[in-house]
């Protein structure tokens, strides 16, 4: 048996032995890294499954809160005073908002686990934009924003998942409204893509606070909000753009943005007229 010092001395005298020893160390490190990656992937899968489970379980007590409150609001158990109505409206509004956030987490978790599927039908993008615009009317009015919607007449219909398209547009328009100060401008424009007319191009823009160039990729990453001070004002799951990207890519489209800090943002996405083959 040789001592470690003896062995090192022998290796330095024998280049082949030294190389073999080095290769063995590299192989050991490689195998160790593979084990670590496998363990991290397993933990990530568990985390995603936990998010899906907890999101689903949160819906049940929320159902109780919202349904009981709506029963009271609608006077089914007797008339309420004006202040009681206001209070109940607050419970319902808060409950519905929480439900939306839980839904976002569930959609994210399903997307991360590749469990999202398309239910494609023929869809007019203009109709989906109009549906999302109506849902946001009261917010737009409250912030005194100028919302402009333009659908070019030659915009083709697409075969797409209507609800998922509405989800993408809802997230983008919701952000545009959220991050634009009172009195600002928000717009949505749909047209055939200038390079490929079998693809629809949609732009959701705003005159709001904007995003610095070095954060353009970060905003699409999960749980990211680029500015801590902004995130305090704009509470949310931080998943909206991650989900939007996943849903657009599921349709075979692409999403990107053009923005500068303080100069507003323009988000663009494309949707092919036909979804990719499964």
């Amino acid at each position: 048996m040789t001592s470690r010092t003896d062995s090192s001395a022998a290796e330095s005298l024998n280049p082949v032995a030294s190389m073999e020893s080095h290769l063995a160390a590299v192989e050991h490190a490689y195998q160790s890294a593979l084990r670590e990656i496998a363990e991290l992937n397993a933990r990530d899968t568990l985390k995603t499954q936990f998010l899906a489970n907890i999101s689903h379980d949160l819906r049940t007590p929320l159902t109780a809160i919202i349904t009981h409150a709506e029963i009271l609001r609608d006077g089914i158990l007797g008339p309420l005073s004006g202040r009681q109505q206001d209070s109940i409206a607050g419970i319902i509004g808060g409950g519905r908002r929480l439900l939306e956030m839980v839904g976002e987490i569930l959609t994210y978790a399903r997307g991360a686990a590749n469990q999202l599927e398309l239910a494609p039908v023929e869809v007019s993008i203009g109709e989906v934009i109009d549906q999302v615009r109506r849902l946001n009317e009261s917010l737009v009015a409250r912030k005194q924003l100028n919302l402009d919607v333009q659908i070019d007449a030659d915009t083709p219909k697409v075969v797409a998942d209507r609800e998922k398209l509405a989800h993408v547009l809802g997230n983008l328009l919701g952000n545009a409204i959220d991050f634009t100060p009172a009195g600002g401008r928000v717009w949505v424009h749909a047209c055939p893509h200038f390079e490929n007319r079998s693809t629809v191009l949609v732009e959701v823009g705003d005159s709001g606070i904007g995003i610095a160039a070095d954060h353009h990729e970060l905003v699409f990453q999960e749980f990211a909000q680029v500015d801590a001070s902004a995130s305090r004002q704009h509470h949310g799951t931080g998943l909206g753009l991650t989900i939007a990207r996943r849903l657009v890519e599921l349709h075979g489209g692409r999403i990107w943005l053009d923005s500068e800090l303080g100069r507003g943002s323009r988000f663009f996405f494309t949707i092919p007229t036909q979804p990719p083959a499964p």
Partner: protein
Amino acid sequence: MTGSRRPLVLIVDDSSHVTAPLQLLFEETGRRVAIAGSVAAAVRACEAERPDLMLLDLTLPDGDGLSVLTALAGSAALPPVTVALTGHDDARTVQRCRAAGCRDVLLKPVPVRELLRRAAEWLAEQAPAAERQA
């Protein structure tokens, strides 16, 4: 349904968070309500008295909620209208529910006004006179 009997709504869900407010809602609006918390209990409830409307959760302690429909297929106890009330309304779930015979698939929590409006339509299809009295 015959005569002026009040319509019977069977709510199949294993959580009182879901069943309690729906029971309150339907009873306060003139319907009778039965509750079942499992596939087996739902089948027994239907066999005891056929409901006019069954609101069915898909995830039950003893199995898939849709197996209630399988168990009652071809039987006189099968409710004339079954509506799935679920936490998932993805395309595959909707397709599965439709294939099993559900009239509709609604995502919980269904807004109360919408649920009442739809329930009135489903029940009126079967016995307009009775539902009008409800």
